[in-house]
């Protein structure tokens, strides 16, 4: 990580908060104080590529739409065909994977933006795997979509080459919404 640019700490903090929430809310109830071992991967933050992404409204809008599309389609497949969440997310991921990167060997800007969105679709598919008890209304899906799109936009150039980044974004979007909702109620 380039430590001279202080803005690089923003994506690093974001991913750190997501991981801490995961350790606290998911791992701690299962294995208790052994969760302290979760500090090991946190030492790895200084070894991973982190780069702050400047907010670009059009790209952010594409990310939010793509994330929402992945999430909505995953939920739709689960409800419509009564499938498992894994099957549904994998199916949506497979469809997203076939979005072309080029058209007739050319790489116009529009196609580049659409193909960039396929990873956001997969991240949205993970968020769509959430149990329906947390989706109290359509607005909850919209809030998670917006949060997920922002998180994806912020982290798109960070934690590259490390598996599980998209899942962390999906988890982050969901857990932030659930935490805020529980705090308010």
């Amino acid at each position: 990580m380039d430590q001279t640019n202080k803005l690089n700490y923003i994506p690093l903090l974001t991913i750190g908060i997501i991981h801490c929430l995961f350790l606290w809310l998911i791992i701690f109830p299962a294995i208790g104080w052994f969760t302290v071992l979760g500090i090991i991967p946190i030492f790895g933050y200084k070894l991973i590529p982190v780069k702050y992404t400047n907010f670009n409204f059009i790209e952010l809008f594409t990310d939010i739409i793509s994330f929402g599309l992945g999430m909505f389609l995953t939920i739709w497949v689960i409800i419509k065909f009564s499938t498992s969440s894994v099957f549904s997310a994998a199916l949506i991921g497979t469809f997203a994977a076939f979005i072309p990167n080029t058209v007739l060997g050319l790489k116009p800007k529009t196609i580049k933006k659409i193909s960039h969105g396929k990873l956001a679709i997969y991240a949205g598919a993970f968020a769509g795997m959430t149990s329906f008890e947390y989706f109290t209304s359509v607005s909850s899906i919209i809030y998670i979509t917006i949060t997920g799109g922002i998180l994806y936009h912020l982290l798109q150039n960070s934690v590259t080459g490390i598996g599980g980044k998209l899942g962390s974004i999906g988890f982050g979007a969901t857990i932030i919404y659930i935490s805020i909702q529980q705090f308010i109620s």
Binding site: V86, G93, F126, A127, M129, E133, I162, S168
Partner: protein, 127 residues
């Protein structure tokens, strides 16, 4: 028996995805999604509820395999996948309610391996 199946599924998911990306030059997203879909489809058709955790583990471990081959080699992917499998084995009861938990576990497994590899290199250099 469950532990053995978890180990096999973790390695299948992680290494399978990694090899599809490396050898077939597929996009990591394509490798992960197609492999998971292939594994999940028979369980979906035959309603094998007793072994419903198998596609979940393969799907989760496939995120480990999505790592770049510039960061990880085959052995490191196998170890990270096993770590993922172990975490899933211990915490599975809390995993099925919030989306992205599998991916976050995979991310933490990968980061742990990066830390271990880095510190073992440093330790070797200091010897």
């Amino acid at each position: 028996m469950t532990a053995l199946i978890t180990i096999i599924c973790s390695i299948t998911g992680g290494l399978g995805t990694f090899l599809c990306t490396k050898k077939l030059r597929w996009h990591p997203l394509k490798s992960s999604a197609i492999l998971s879909l292939i594994i999940a489809t028979p369980f979906e058709i035959l309603n094998l509820d007793t072994y419903a955790y198998i596609p979940i583990i393969v799907f989760g471990a496939s995120f480990v395999g999505m790592s770049s081959n510039k960061v990880f080699n085959k052995t490191q992917v196998i170890i990270a996948s096993l770590l993922f499998g172990g975490l899933h084995f211990l915490c599975a009861s809390n995993f099925n309610f919030i989306g992205g938990t599998l991916g976050t576990t995979a991310c933490l497994s990968c980061l742990s391996i990066i830390v271990l590899v880095n510190y073992s290199k440093e330790a070797k250099a200091n010897l």
